[in-house]
Assembly symmetry: C2
Homo-oligomer: 439 residues x 2
């Protein structure tokens, strides 16, 4: 019989990889909660239309789609924001605002697998719906940083690049672009940091045929390059292009808040940040490693029209997504990976299986009922082998059930790390287990 | 713009439902760990062939399948056992045995949604691979009971019905059935408890055309009805049909172990238990509510040939799956549902937003950095409204930043449940937060 392989671009989570994944997800959960987000989730598949309607061509081109028995077109979720919008729309009148929700969905995209990009991954999502305040924008960005800081990434490791799509729209219109050209300029700019300068220029010539307009755009981009000035100076420059812009003030407000929250050194303004998804309307941001050798670790922004676009009311919203794949690569490079440890409290060792069945099985039941992990050898192997097994499985204690257990009801409890041991009545062990294991 | 609904048979997990799901999953995790299982997971989709090859017609007929860009046939996992077998086969030589693994996969089956059965659900899986011991069978069954007991289900609420497919095969052969008839008799028996007696007899006439053989089968089933005798008497009866059967002894051993583990009152022998999946070989079991108004809560069994059937070595294995849908219905009926509480430690309330930004934002950063949850109002609403919001969100403390905070650096920390309050320097709060919240 032939062996069937896993599908390329998916991952098998053996216990070590699972412990790592749990460590990442547990961290996301803890930081979400301390920032006031509550957890939700949706189905793994939705009607195809939910994604083709609003997410934009890039996402729509990467769908795993299928048809059910009733001939309905479905797709595995490539992102959770449309589901979130659908769910909030369904209960908009009963949900207290602002809605601060998080989720850690499993997502699938039919992409070519490559470094930092798989066909199946997990993505932390935090969203704030029902507030158009700059506080919400800033609190959202802060939450992403709060996690990355919590796992040991400093402002010399990562950078949050922030801009505003609404502001960019104003700047572009000021230069002479028409409303209907904006989407293609966004798509172009989104590629700028990812392409060699020459390739980008070629692409720009293709997308913006008006040479004068193109030159104006390049001139502006050069002036607003992120490398040179402090944020205040940059925004001053921008104001020359858009003198009455409330969007510049909003951006300024976001930076002010982030400064008060002591994470300003993580943050930069960057005019090139646009985001690939079609539905963003205001503040947009992406987080990168400072060396800029990896894809974005995180991306997000304001999407004030999405809920209305999916048949709901006009409700402002902002959120971000952080995938596990690039994050894991970066944390691994920085030697910052952890894992959720699963502890084995007791390995019950025996020589005579009849005594074990009589005395050991009830003991194991008692230990487990109280929440302690307890296992034993199924093979009735030699005691030495069982002790080795206990060591291999990193048991905290070995409980030795021998002939004396039958004779006088005693067991030997051996601390595997320290090598010390103590003898006690078998009936006493369940009561003393909490003190022994410290849990 | 039209609203797109969720797909029928899927669930939206709003925060309340998510807290319930997390409570169930956390319970499964804790019981898995205390019984010595370690967590793994696989991809949400696999090559279609992995399921069509070994799972049997029922599962194969319920697949959500799709084709990727390369024309490969894929399917969303309807169960995780084939993935488990694939993963173990891949690393069989480096994995220490017995392999005791658990997982809580999200699974999808293209069924007609009905009570207790959805098209998307979560299923707790525990498997022991690499041991053919009766201990492994029994430990597996014990683990399922250990969870159900831990959430408050007693032996008057639920029953574990246990049989052996290998033993049944012997009995059937003893009656005169040929090897190649066995699968269709299994399929027939699997339906017995689910159908009215008359419908079952009609179906039996259809499947077993030999009247004499059919009558013999009915006579044996009647004799081995589960209602009447103690397990010992039942097995004595069976031995008359299969005098040298080691399978009867194994079954006897499983019941002996479960008795020593103090869960015998949950367990019954039931000759009707066969399991729908094609790959079971030995001990099989299902767990039902005693009133028998719901579908099975849990099902499992030994599948010693599956790994070899998927291109691996011959390695014995046993496992079970417990879905969340029927479980939730039963726990709800019994009023035993819980939920994973998410606590909000601090709601920071302010009247003057400038003072808040100066003093409150750094405080919130400090609290969150130390792991305490802390939020504030984005709307700069009136203080009374903010305090109401703090109450609605069930914050443990409201921290009031007022004019005195500017004047002398004091904040008022109000215990929302007790109504008591204390005044302290704002800089002291982060250090005292642990003591205040008890975490």
């Amino acid at each position: 019989m032939e062996k069937i392989p896993p599908v390329k671009g998916t991952r098998d989570f053996y216990p070590d990889q699972m412990a790592l994944r749990n460590w990442i997800v547990d961290g996301w959960r803890a930081v979400s909660q301390r920032n006031g987000f509550v957890e939700y989730d949706g189905p793994i598949f939705e009607y195809l239309q939910l994604y083709t309607q609003k997410s934009g061509d890039e996402i729509a081109g990467q769908l795993f789609s299928m048809t059910d028995r009733g001939g309905r077109d479905l797709a595995i979720r490539p992102e959770i924001t449309p589901t979130l919008a659908r769910m909030v729309n369904q209960q908009i009148n009963s949900l207290a605002r602002p809605i601060k929700w998080f989720s850690v969905p499993r997502l699938c995209r039919a992409e070519r697998p490559q470094k930092g990009r798989l066909r199946e991954f997990f993505q932390w999502n935090c969203d704030i719906i029902g507030s158009d305040s700059v506080y919400a924008d800033a609190d959202c960005i802060y939450t992403a940083i709060d996690y990355l800081r919590s796992v040991g990434l400093g402002s010399d490791d990562i950078v949050v690049k922030i801009s505003s799509r609404a502001m960019l729209a104003e700047l572009l219109k000021h230069l002479g672009f028409a409303q209907e050209q904006l989407d293609s300029v966004y798509a172009l700019l989104d590629k700028r940091a990812k392409l060699p300068a020459e390739t980008f220029i070629e692409l720009a010539k293709d997308k913006i045929t008006d040479e004068k307009l193109r030159d104006k755009l390049f001139a502006m981009l050069d002036k607003l390059q992120p490398e040179d000035d402090a944020i205040g100076d940059k925004l001053d420059k921008i104001i020359k292009y858009a003198p009455d812009s409330k969007h510049v003030q909003q951006l300024d407000g976001v930076f002010y808040y982030l400064g008060k929250m002591a994470v300003a050194d993580y943050c930069e303004f960057d005019i090139n940040i646009v985001r690939g998804l079609a539905y963003y309307t205001g503040i947009v941001f992406e987080i990168f490693d400072r060396k800029n050798t990896l894809r974005a670790i995180c991306g997000g922004g304001r999407y004030d029209n999405l809920l209305a676009g999916l048949g709901g009311q006009q409700v402002p919203a902002i959120g971000f997504g952080m995938g596990d794949v690039v994050l894991e690569i970066l944390l691994s490079e920085k030697n910052l990976l952890g894992h959720s440890q699963q502890e084995l409290d007791f390995f019950v060792v025996y020589d005579d299986y009849k005594i074990f069945e009589e005395k050991g099985l009830p003991l194991i039941n008692q230990l487990r009922k109280r929440g302690h992990s307890a296992v034993f050898d199924y093979r009735r192997g030699a005691m030495g082998k069982q002790l080795k097994q206990a060591a291999t499985q990193k048991a905290t204690f070995a409980v030795i059930i021998g002939q004396e257990t039958k004779a006088d009801g005693n067991v030997t409890v051996k601390n595997m790390a320290e090598g010390t041991q103590q003898v006690m009545k078998i009936e006493e062990l369940p009561d003393r287990a909490e003190q022994l294991t410290g849990s």
